[in-house]
Amino acid sequence: MFIQILFGLSALLTIGCAIAVAVTKNIMHSCVFLLGSLIGIAGLYATLGADFVAVTQIMVYVGGVVILMLFAVMLTGGKDYVSKAQNLLGLAPNMGNKWTYTIGLLVSLVFILTNVKLVSSVIKANPAKTFGNEFPSTVNQLGHLLVKDHVLAFELSSVLLLGALVGAAIIARPRKQ
């Protein structure tokens, strides 16, 4: 029962904040709504029994990426370049005319139908299981997997992070006049 309540709250938070990111005019508000959406996704991870991934999600995204985004918004002025012209629905700016909407609707219909066809067999083969309320900790198994089966990707990601660190520092350094 607790899992269902957590799932409902997290799903509401995730979907509501994601749609708010898309429709809000202010870029700063958009960043804060992204924060809510990422916390909701961490809650969804918790309902799936992925405790380590949920904590990592909160630490990396909420503690790192969104703060970085907020700094970038503040450093670059935070203009959003909203076009004055109203479009259909009046929601998002710069979204095109009625032909854009028609073609987009058709393409998304084909996309969704194809994916439902593909996914429905997987869903039928795996009905809703009844999980207990106890979740075994996954940290131990994840640690073993990371240094046994996936050790190459683990080490390469450290090289990638070092490259990203040095690259970001070089790209954003002050200009020499």
Partner: protein
């Protein structure tokens, strides 16, 4: 109980919201926000499938690597955006037409 399909629907909505942000917004930082939403939709799908279909933890590993790469991508992307702002004094995406100067 909660089914696999509910997680997939949430992931679909996240993906659609991220795509809308990427298309509709003209601010470079906002486009990076859309990329984060799309990456999160993919990572949520990985964890949901690993819970309901494969019953092992490989999806969790993949999701962790997605988080790592998203963090690196955000750092480099925002550095490029700030550099672009220093040069052009704007972050409108249509101004980014030249590779140098």
């Amino acid at each position: 109980m909660i089914s696999l399909a509910s997680y997939l629907v949430i992931s679909l909505i996240l993906f659609a919201a991220g795509l809308t942000v990427m298309i509709a917004r003209k601010n470079l930082v906002a486009i990076l926000l859309g990329i984060e939403l799309i990456l999160n939709a993919a990572a949520l799908n990985f964890v949901a499938y690993s819970r309901y279909v494969t019953n092992n933890l490989d999806g969790h590993i993949f999701s962790l690597f997605i988080i790592v790469i998203a963090a690196a991508e955000a750092a480099v992307g925002l550095a490029i955006v700030i550099r672009f702002f220093q040069i052009k004094e704007t972050v409108h995406v249509d101004e980014a037409t030249q590779l140098r100067n």
